[in-house]
Protein backbone atom coordinates (compact mmCIF):
# COMPACT_ATOMS: atom_id res chain seq x y z
CA UNK A 1 0.00 0.00 0.00
CA UNK A 2 1.33 3.38 -0.95
CA UNK A 3 1.53 5.63 2.08
CA UNK A 4 3.41 8.89 1.69
CA UNK A 5 2.30 10.23 5.06
CA UNK A 6 5.26 10.69 7.39
CA UNK A 7 4.58 10.35 11.06
CA UNK A 8 6.51 13.44 12.07
CA UNK A 9 8.23 16.49 10.69
CA UNK A 10 11.53 14.88 11.61
CA UNK A 11 10.77 11.82 9.51
CA UNK A 12 9.50 13.99 6.67
CA UNK A 13 12.82 15.87 6.59
CA UNK A 14 15.09 12.86 6.91
CA UNK A 15 17.94 12.51 4.49
CA UNK A 16 18.51 16.14 3.56
CA UNK A 17 22.22 16.34 2.73
CA UNK A 18 24.63 19.23 3.11
CA UNK A 19 24.76 21.28 -0.08
CA UNK A 20 21.19 20.43 -1.14
CA UNK A 21 19.11 22.80 -3.21
CA UNK A 22 15.82 23.37 -1.42
CA UNK A 23 12.72 25.03 -2.81
CA UNK A 24 10.52 26.71 -0.22
CA UNK A 25 6.97 27.61 -1.19
CA UNK A 26 4.89 30.52 -0.05
CA UNK A 27 4.24 34.11 -0.95
CA UNK A 28 4.19 36.27 2.11
CA UNK A 29 2.80 34.05 4.82
CA UNK A 30 0.33 32.28 2.52
CA UNK A 31 1.56 28.81 1.69
CA UNK A 32 4.73 29.27 3.75
CA UNK A 33 5.73 25.89 5.24
CA UNK A 34 6.99 27.36 8.51
CA UNK A 35 6.97 24.10 10.46
CA UNK A 36 8.93 22.30 7.73
CA UNK A 37 11.46 25.12 7.79
CA UNK A 38 11.78 24.79 11.57
CA UNK A 39 12.29 21.06 11.11
CA UNK A 40 14.96 21.71 8.50
CA UNK A 41 16.75 23.98 10.98
CA UNK A 42 16.55 21.19 13.56
CA UNK A 43 17.76 18.66 10.99
CA UNK A 44 20.95 20.65 10.59
CA UNK A 45 21.92 20.35 6.90
CA UNK A 46 24.26 23.14 5.81
CA UNK A 47 25.74 24.72 2.71
CA UNK A 48 22.20 24.91 1.32
CA UNK A 49 20.91 26.71 -1.74
CA UNK A 50 17.42 28.02 -1.01
CA UNK A 51 14.80 29.16 -3.51
CA UNK A 52 11.89 31.23 -2.29
CA UNK A 53 10.13 34.29 -3.65
CA UNK A 54 11.48 36.39 -0.78
CA UNK A 55 14.47 36.14 1.51
CA UNK A 56 12.77 35.96 4.86
CA UNK A 57 10.95 38.47 6.98
CA UNK A 58 11.15 39.06 10.69
CA UNK A 59 13.04 36.39 12.61
CA UNK A 60 11.05 33.25 11.79
CA UNK A 61 10.67 30.93 8.82
CA UNK A 62 13.15 31.57 6.01
CA UNK A 63 14.76 34.35 8.07
CA UNK A 64 15.41 31.93 10.93
CA UNK A 65 16.92 29.45 8.46
CA UNK A 66 19.20 32.12 7.02
CA UNK A 67 20.21 33.16 10.53
CA UNK A 68 21.66 29.70 11.19
CA UNK A 69 24.34 30.48 8.60
CA UNK A 70 23.62 27.19 6.85
CA UNK A 71 22.40 28.78 3.64
CA UNK A 72 25.12 29.45 1.09
CA UNK A 73 22.97 31.05 -1.58
CA UNK A 74 19.42 32.27 -2.04
CA UNK A 75 17.59 32.51 -5.36
CA UNK A 76 14.62 34.85 -5.12
CA UNK A 77 12.79 37.75 -6.72
CA UNK A 78 12.21 40.11 -3.83
CA UNK A 79 14.66 39.94 -0.94
CA UNK A 80 14.25 43.52 0.25
CA UNK A 81 11.46 44.09 2.73
CA UNK A 82 10.83 46.36 5.67
CA UNK A 83 11.71 43.52 8.03
CA UNK A 84 14.26 41.54 6.01
CA UNK A 85 17.05 42.46 8.40
CA UNK A 86 18.43 38.92 8.68
CA UNK A 87 18.97 38.71 4.94
CA UNK A 88 20.18 42.31 4.74
CA UNK A 89 22.88 41.77 7.34
CA UNK A 90 24.15 38.50 5.87
CA UNK A 91 24.12 39.92 2.36
CA UNK A 92 25.94 43.11 3.28
CA UNK A 93 28.48 41.06 5.22
CA UNK A 94 29.12 38.98 2.09
CA UNK A 95 28.06 35.82 3.87
CA UNK A 96 25.13 34.98 1.59
CA UNK A 97 25.13 34.83 -2.19
CA UNK A 98 22.06 36.28 -3.90
CA UNK A 99 20.73 35.34 -7.32
CA UNK A 100 18.02 37.85 -8.13
CA UNK A 101 15.48 36.57 -10.65
CA UNK A 102 12.31 38.24 -11.91
CA UNK A 103 9.33 36.52 -10.31
CA UNK A 104 7.87 35.16 -13.54
CA UNK A 105 11.25 33.92 -14.69
CA UNK A 106 11.79 32.30 -11.30
CA UNK A 107 8.58 30.32 -11.50
CA UNK A 108 9.08 29.48 -15.18
CA UNK A 109 12.57 28.16 -14.46
CA UNK A 110 11.04 25.96 -11.79
CA UNK A 111 8.30 24.89 -14.18
CA UNK A 112 10.93 24.04 -16.81
CA UNK A 113 12.73 21.82 -14.31
CA UNK A 114 9.56 19.92 -13.54
CA UNK A 115 8.55 19.64 -17.18
CA UNK A 116 11.91 18.46 -18.56
CA UNK A 117 12.57 21.61 -20.60
CA UNK A 118 16.29 22.26 -21.10
CA UNK A 119 16.08 26.03 -21.41
CA UNK A 120 13.65 28.67 -22.68
CA UNK A 121 13.57 32.13 -24.17
CA UNK A 122 11.69 34.75 -22.19
CA UNK A 123 11.11 38.41 -23.01
CA UNK A 124 11.31 39.30 -19.32
CA UNK A 125 14.37 41.36 -18.33
CA UNK A 126 15.65 41.81 -21.88
CA UNK A 127 17.69 45.01 -22.00
CA UNK A 128 18.03 45.23 -18.23
CA UNK A 129 20.81 44.62 -15.74
CA UNK A 130 19.33 41.23 -14.94
CA UNK A 131 19.99 40.08 -18.51
CA UNK A 132 23.70 40.78 -18.17
CA UNK A 133 25.77 37.84 -19.36
CA UNK A 134 22.75 35.98 -20.69
CA UNK A 135 22.27 34.88 -24.28
CA UNK A 136 19.66 36.78 -26.20
CA UNK A 137 17.83 36.10 -29.44
CA UNK A 138 15.40 37.98 -31.63
CA UNK A 139 12.41 35.81 -32.50
CA UNK A 140 9.64 37.12 -34.75
CA UNK A 141 10.77 40.69 -34.19
CA UNK A 142 10.86 40.48 -30.42
CA UNK A 143 13.84 40.18 -28.10
CA UNK A 144 14.24 37.33 -25.63
CA UNK A 145 16.87 36.05 -23.22
CA UNK A 146 17.74 32.44 -22.53
CA UNK A 147 16.97 31.05 -19.09
CA UNK A 148 17.75 27.65 -17.61
CA UNK A 149 15.74 25.40 -15.27
CA UNK A 150 16.22 25.38 -11.51
CA UNK A 151 16.41 21.72 -10.52
CA UNK A 152 16.20 20.99 -6.84
CA UNK A 153 16.76 18.18 -4.41
CA UNK A 154 13.88 19.02 -2.09
CA UNK A 155 10.76 21.13 -2.12
CA UNK A 156 9.11 22.18 1.12
CA UNK A 157 5.57 23.30 0.46
CA UNK A 158 2.31 23.82 2.31
CA UNK A 159 -1.06 22.61 1.09
CA UNK A 160 -4.52 22.40 2.53
CA UNK A 161 -5.10 18.65 2.33
CA UNK A 162 -3.40 15.50 1.09
CA UNK A 163 -4.29 11.84 0.77
CA UNK A 164 -1.92 8.92 1.25
CA UNK A 165 -1.01 8.94 -2.46
CA UNK A 166 0.23 12.51 -2.08
CA UNK A 167 -2.54 14.19 -4.05
CA UNK A 168 -2.78 17.81 -2.91
CA UNK A 169 -5.31 20.60 -2.83
CA UNK A 170 -4.49 24.10 -1.70
CA UNK A 171 -6.39 26.99 -0.16
CA UNK A 172 -6.94 30.29 -2.00
CA UNK A 173 -3.76 32.24 -2.76
CA UNK A 174 -1.72 29.86 -0.60
CA UNK A 175 -1.44 27.75 -3.75
CA UNK A 176 1.15 30.12 -5.33
CA UNK A 177 4.49 28.32 -5.85
CA UNK A 178 3.42 24.97 -4.35
CA UNK A 179 2.36 23.00 -7.46
CA UNK A 180 5.33 24.20 -9.51
CA UNK A 181 7.90 23.53 -6.81
CA UNK A 182 6.42 20.09 -6.10
CA UNK A 183 7.19 19.11 -9.70
CA UNK A 184 10.65 20.69 -9.78
CA UNK A 185 12.28 18.78 -6.92
CA UNK A 186 13.46 15.20 -6.69
CA UNK A 187 11.81 14.87 -3.29
CA UNK A 188 8.84 17.08 -2.52
CA UNK A 189 7.58 17.33 1.02
CA UNK A 190 4.18 18.85 1.76
CA UNK A 191 2.91 19.95 5.12
CA UNK A 192 -0.85 19.94 5.14
CA UNK A 193 -3.57 21.09 7.43
CA UNK A 194 -5.62 17.99 6.86
CA UNK A 195 -5.23 14.38 5.74
CA UNK A 196 -8.03 13.23 3.45
CA UNK A 197 -9.12 9.66 2.87
CA UNK A 198 -8.14 8.34 -0.53
CA UNK A 199 -10.98 9.31 -2.86
CA UNK A 200 -12.15 12.26 -0.78
CA UNK A 201 -10.32 14.73 -3.00
CA UNK A 202 -12.26 15.37 -6.20
CA UNK A 203 -10.22 14.00 -9.14
CA UNK A 204 -11.30 17.04 -11.18
CA UNK A 205 -10.00 19.42 -8.51
CA UNK A 206 -6.74 17.83 -7.40
CA UNK A 207 -4.16 20.52 -8.11
CA UNK A 208 -0.99 18.51 -7.52
CA UNK A 209 -1.30 14.84 -8.45
CA UNK A 210 0.61 12.57 -6.08
CA UNK A 211 3.26 11.77 -8.70
CA UNK A 212 4.88 15.09 -7.78
CA UNK A 213 4.86 14.49 -4.03
CA UNK A 214 7.16 12.19 -2.07
CA UNK A 215 6.21 12.86 1.52
CA UNK A 216 3.32 14.42 3.36
CA UNK A 217 3.15 15.50 6.98
CA UNK A 218 0.20 16.88 8.84
CA UNK A 219 0.66 20.09 10.78
CA UNK A 220 -2.50 21.29 12.43
CA UNK A 221 -3.53 24.80 11.49
CA UNK A 222 -2.50 27.09 14.33
CA UNK A 223 -5.32 28.27 16.54
CA UNK A 224 -4.87 31.91 17.52
CA UNK A 225 -3.49 32.18 21.01
CA UNK A 226 -2.71 28.46 21.29
CA UNK A 227 0.70 26.88 20.87
CA UNK A 228 1.05 25.04 17.56
CA UNK A 229 0.55 21.30 17.84
CA UNK A 230 2.93 20.44 15.06
CA UNK A 231 3.92 17.22 13.41
CA UNK A 232 1.71 14.85 15.33
CA UNK A 233 1.27 12.77 12.22
CA UNK A 234 -2.08 11.44 11.08
CA UNK A 235 -5.11 13.05 12.61
Amino acid sequence: MINKIAESLEVALSGVEDGATILIGGFGDAGMPNELIDALIAQGAKGLVVVNNNAGQGETGVAALLKTGRVRKIICSFPRNADSQVFDNLYRAGRLELELVPQGTLVERLRAAGAGIGAFYTPTAFGTELARGKESRRIDGRDFILEYPIHADYALIKAEAADRWGNLVYRKAARNFGPVMAAAAKCSIAQVNRIAELGDLDPEAIVTPGIFVSRVVRVARPVPGVAVNAGEGRP
Binding site: G28, Q103, T122, P123, E129, K172
Partner: protein
Protein backbone atom coordinates in the same frame (compact mmCIF):
# COMPACT_ATOMS: atom_id res chain seq x y z
CA UNK B 1 1.41 80.24 -12.82
CA UNK B 2 -1.21 79.12 -10.38
CA UNK B 3 -2.26 75.52 -10.46
CA UNK B 4 -2.89 72.72 -7.98
CA UNK B 5 -1.42 69.29 -8.30
CA UNK B 6 -3.77 66.35 -8.30
CA UNK B 7 -3.78 64.31 -5.14
CA UNK B 8 -2.84 60.65 -5.35
CA UNK B 9 -6.50 59.75 -5.02
CA UNK B 10 -7.30 62.05 -7.91
CA UNK B 11 -4.66 60.42 -10.10
CA UNK B 12 -6.04 57.00 -9.11
CA UNK B 13 -9.54 58.13 -10.04
CA UNK B 14 -8.27 59.43 -13.38
CA UNK B 15 -6.62 56.06 -14.15
CA UNK B 16 -9.68 54.13 -13.05
CA UNK B 17 -11.92 56.15 -15.35
CA UNK B 18 -9.93 54.95 -18.35
CA UNK B 19 -10.26 51.24 -17.59
CA UNK B 20 -13.02 49.79 -19.74
CA UNK B 21 -15.66 47.21 -18.84
CA UNK B 22 -14.32 43.66 -19.02
CA UNK B 23 -10.65 44.61 -18.81
CA UNK B 24 -8.14 42.31 -17.12
CA UNK B 25 -5.91 44.55 -15.06
CA UNK B 26 -2.92 44.19 -12.78
CA UNK B 27 -2.26 47.01 -10.35
CA UNK B 28 1.36 47.20 -9.23
CA UNK B 29 2.26 47.48 -5.58
CA UNK B 30 2.38 50.93 -4.02
CA UNK B 31 0.56 53.86 -5.60
CA UNK B 32 -1.24 51.86 -8.34
CA UNK B 33 -3.01 49.74 -5.72
CA UNK B 34 -5.09 52.84 -4.97
CA UNK B 35 -6.76 52.53 -8.37
CA UNK B 36 -8.78 49.61 -7.01
CA UNK B 37 -10.64 51.96 -4.70
CA UNK B 38 -11.80 54.15 -7.58
CA UNK B 39 -13.02 51.66 -10.19
CA UNK B 40 -16.41 52.73 -11.56
CA UNK B 41 -19.00 50.59 -9.77
CA UNK B 42 -21.01 50.13 -12.96
CA UNK B 43 -18.19 48.36 -14.79
CA UNK B 44 -17.07 44.76 -14.31
CA UNK B 45 -13.27 44.92 -14.23
CA UNK B 46 -11.16 41.91 -13.30
CA UNK B 47 -8.13 42.54 -11.16
CA UNK B 48 -5.26 40.07 -11.42
CA UNK B 49 -2.70 39.44 -8.72
CA UNK B 50 0.67 37.78 -9.36
CA UNK B 51 0.13 35.36 -6.50
CA UNK B 52 -2.61 33.53 -8.32
CA UNK B 53 -5.85 35.50 -8.13
CA UNK B 54 -8.15 36.73 -10.87
CA UNK B 55 -11.15 38.74 -9.77
CA UNK B 56 -9.77 40.41 -6.68
CA UNK B 57 -12.27 42.35 -4.65
CA UNK B 58 -11.87 45.15 -2.12
CA UNK B 59 -10.20 44.83 1.27
CA UNK B 60 -12.25 42.84 3.79
CA UNK B 61 -13.55 44.04 7.11
CA UNK B 62 -10.93 43.45 9.77
CA UNK B 63 -12.72 40.41 11.18
CA UNK B 64 -12.90 38.82 7.73
CA UNK B 65 -9.18 39.00 6.95
CA UNK B 66 -7.95 35.67 5.60
CA UNK B 67 -4.18 35.09 5.71
CA UNK B 68 -4.49 32.94 2.56
CA UNK B 69 -6.09 35.75 0.58
CA UNK B 70 -3.82 38.71 0.03
CA UNK B 71 -2.64 40.70 -2.96
CA UNK B 72 0.89 40.91 -4.37
CA UNK B 73 1.59 43.73 -1.90
CA UNK B 74 0.59 41.32 0.86
CA UNK B 75 -2.46 43.35 1.84
CA UNK B 76 -5.67 41.44 2.64
CA UNK B 77 -8.18 41.31 -0.21
CA UNK B 78 -11.37 39.46 -1.12
CA UNK B 79 -12.44 37.41 -4.12
CA UNK B 80 -15.30 38.56 -6.31
CA UNK B 81 -18.05 36.15 -7.23
CA UNK B 82 -16.69 34.53 -10.39
CA UNK B 83 -13.05 34.90 -9.41
CA UNK B 84 -10.53 32.07 -9.60
CA UNK B 85 -7.31 30.83 -8.01
CA UNK B 86 -4.36 29.33 -9.87
CA UNK B 87 -0.68 28.69 -9.33
CA UNK B 88 2.21 31.05 -9.90
CA UNK B 89 3.30 29.62 -13.26
CA UNK B 90 -0.19 30.00 -14.66
CA UNK B 91 -0.34 33.48 -13.16
CA UNK B 92 2.81 34.57 -14.95
CA UNK B 93 1.66 32.82 -18.13
CA UNK B 94 -1.23 35.28 -18.01
CA UNK B 95 1.21 38.15 -17.57
CA UNK B 96 3.98 37.15 -19.98
CA UNK B 97 1.58 35.68 -22.51
CA UNK B 98 -0.10 39.01 -23.17
CA UNK B 99 -3.44 38.19 -21.59
CA UNK B 100 -3.64 41.24 -19.32
CA UNK B 101 -5.17 44.25 -21.00
CA UNK B 102 -3.63 46.80 -18.70
CA UNK B 103 -0.97 46.91 -16.07
CA UNK B 104 -0.56 50.02 -13.93
CA UNK B 105 2.88 50.46 -12.41
CA UNK B 106 4.72 53.02 -10.37
CA UNK B 107 7.99 54.42 -11.66
CA UNK B 108 11.18 56.20 -10.73
CA UNK B 109 11.62 57.29 -14.34
CA UNK B 110 9.97 56.85 -17.72
CA UNK B 111 11.87 57.71 -20.87
CA UNK B 112 10.54 59.46 -23.94
CA UNK B 113 10.69 56.13 -25.77
CA UNK B 114 8.71 54.31 -23.09
CA UNK B 115 11.58 52.74 -21.18
CA UNK B 116 10.59 52.07 -17.59
CA UNK B 117 12.78 52.27 -14.49
CA UNK B 118 10.96 51.27 -11.36
CA UNK B 119 12.83 48.51 -9.55
CA UNK B 120 16.17 49.85 -8.43
CA UNK B 121 17.70 53.19 -7.72
CA UNK B 122 21.04 51.74 -8.73
CA UNK B 123 22.70 52.93 -5.55
CA UNK B 124 25.75 50.77 -4.93
CA UNK B 125 24.72 49.70 -1.43
CA UNK B 126 21.05 49.15 -2.22
CA UNK B 127 19.67 45.66 -1.84
CA UNK B 128 18.03 44.86 -5.14
CA UNK B 129 14.49 43.47 -5.40
CA UNK B 130 12.59 43.08 -8.63
CA UNK B 131 9.49 40.96 -7.94
CA UNK B 132 7.17 40.72 -10.91
CA UNK B 133 7.83 44.18 -12.32
CA UNK B 134 9.89 43.05 -15.31
CA UNK B 135 7.32 40.40 -16.25
CA UNK B 136 4.47 42.88 -16.04
CA UNK B 137 6.43 45.46 -18.03
CA UNK B 138 6.92 43.16 -21.03
CA UNK B 139 3.70 41.21 -20.73
CA UNK B 140 0.64 43.44 -20.45
CA UNK B 141 -0.97 44.72 -23.64
CA UNK B 142 -0.83 48.26 -22.24
CA UNK B 143 1.56 49.38 -19.55
CA UNK B 144 0.43 52.53 -17.81
CA UNK B 145 2.54 54.34 -15.29
CA UNK B 146 1.09 56.28 -12.39
CA UNK B 147 3.44 58.69 -10.64
CA UNK B 148 4.04 62.23 -9.55
CA UNK B 149 5.68 64.06 -12.42
CA UNK B 150 8.46 65.60 -10.37
CA UNK B 151 10.77 64.26 -7.71
CA UNK B 152 10.88 65.99 -4.36
CA UNK B 153 13.84 67.90 -5.71
CA UNK B 154 11.71 69.07 -8.64
CA UNK B 155 13.35 66.93 -11.29
CA UNK B 156 11.18 65.47 -14.01
CA UNK B 157 10.61 61.72 -13.84
CA UNK B 158 9.82 61.82 -17.55
CA UNK B 159 13.32 61.87 -18.98
CA UNK B 160 15.02 61.72 -22.37
CA UNK B 161 16.77 58.57 -21.24
CA UNK B 162 16.52 56.71 -17.93
CA UNK B 163 19.49 57.02 -15.62
CA UNK B 164 18.12 54.43 -13.22
CA UNK B 165 18.37 50.71 -14.06
CA UNK B 166 15.71 49.67 -16.55
CA UNK B 167 12.74 47.45 -15.82
CA UNK B 168 11.73 47.16 -19.47
CA UNK B 169 12.60 48.70 -22.83
CA UNK B 170 9.98 50.68 -24.75
CA UNK B 171 7.08 49.28 -22.78
CA UNK B 172 5.16 52.24 -21.33
CA UNK B 173 2.33 53.67 -23.42
CA UNK B 174 0.82 56.16 -21.01
CA UNK B 175 1.82 58.05 -17.88
CA UNK B 176 -0.72 59.43 -15.42
CA UNK B 177 0.76 62.18 -13.27
CA UNK B 178 -0.35 64.80 -10.81
CA UNK B 179 -0.04 67.47 -13.51
CA UNK B 180 -1.13 65.86 -16.78
CA UNK B 181 -1.59 62.62 -18.65
CA UNK B 182 1.13 61.90 -21.18
CA UNK B 183 0.89 59.36 -23.98
CA UNK B 184 4.06 57.81 -25.35
CA UNK B 185 3.61 57.11 -29.02
CA UNK B 186 5.92 56.21 -31.88
CA UNK B 187 5.59 59.87 -32.91
CA UNK B 188 6.66 61.18 -29.53
CA UNK B 189 5.01 62.34 -26.34
CA UNK B 190 1.62 63.97 -26.24
CA UNK B 191 0.22 65.56 -23.13
CA UNK B 192 -3.40 66.23 -22.21
CA UNK B 193 -5.68 66.69 -19.25
CA UNK B 194 -3.35 69.30 -17.76
CA UNK B 195 -4.46 70.47 -14.33
CA UNK B 196 -6.37 73.76 -14.42
CA UNK B 197 -4.01 76.73 -14.57
CA UNK B 198 -1.10 74.74 -16.05
CA UNK B 199 -0.31 75.39 -19.67
CA UNK B 200 1.68 73.33 -22.14
CA UNK B 201 4.64 75.68 -22.11
CA UNK B 202 5.04 75.36 -18.36
CA UNK B 203 4.58 71.57 -18.49
CA UNK B 204 7.19 71.49 -21.22
CA UNK B 205 9.54 73.51 -19.04
CA UNK B 206 9.01 71.18 -16.07
CA UNK B 207 9.67 67.99 -18.03
CA UNK B 208 12.40 69.16 -20.35
CA UNK B 209 11.31 66.57 -22.90
CA UNK B 210 9.57 67.62 -26.12
CA UNK B 211 5.82 67.35 -25.65
CA UNK B 212 3.10 67.57 -28.26
CA UNK B 213 -0.43 68.48 -27.30
CA UNK B 214 -2.99 65.88 -28.18
CA UNK B 215 -5.86 67.41 -30.04
CA UNK B 216 -8.64 65.13 -28.91
CA UNK B 217 -8.44 63.31 -25.64
CA UNK B 218 -9.13 59.61 -25.96
CA UNK B 219 -11.42 58.05 -23.46
Amino acid sequence: MTYARCSRAEIARRVAADIPEGAYVNLGIGLPTMVADHLPPDREILLHSENGILGMGPAPAKEDIDPDLMNAGKQPVTLLTGGAFFHHADSFAMIRGGHLDICVLGAFQVSASGDLANWSTGEPDAIPAVGGAMDLAVGAKSVWVMMELLTRKGESKIVPRCTYPLTGVGVVSRVYTDLAVIDITPDGLSAYDLVPGLDMAELQRLTGVPLGARVAALK
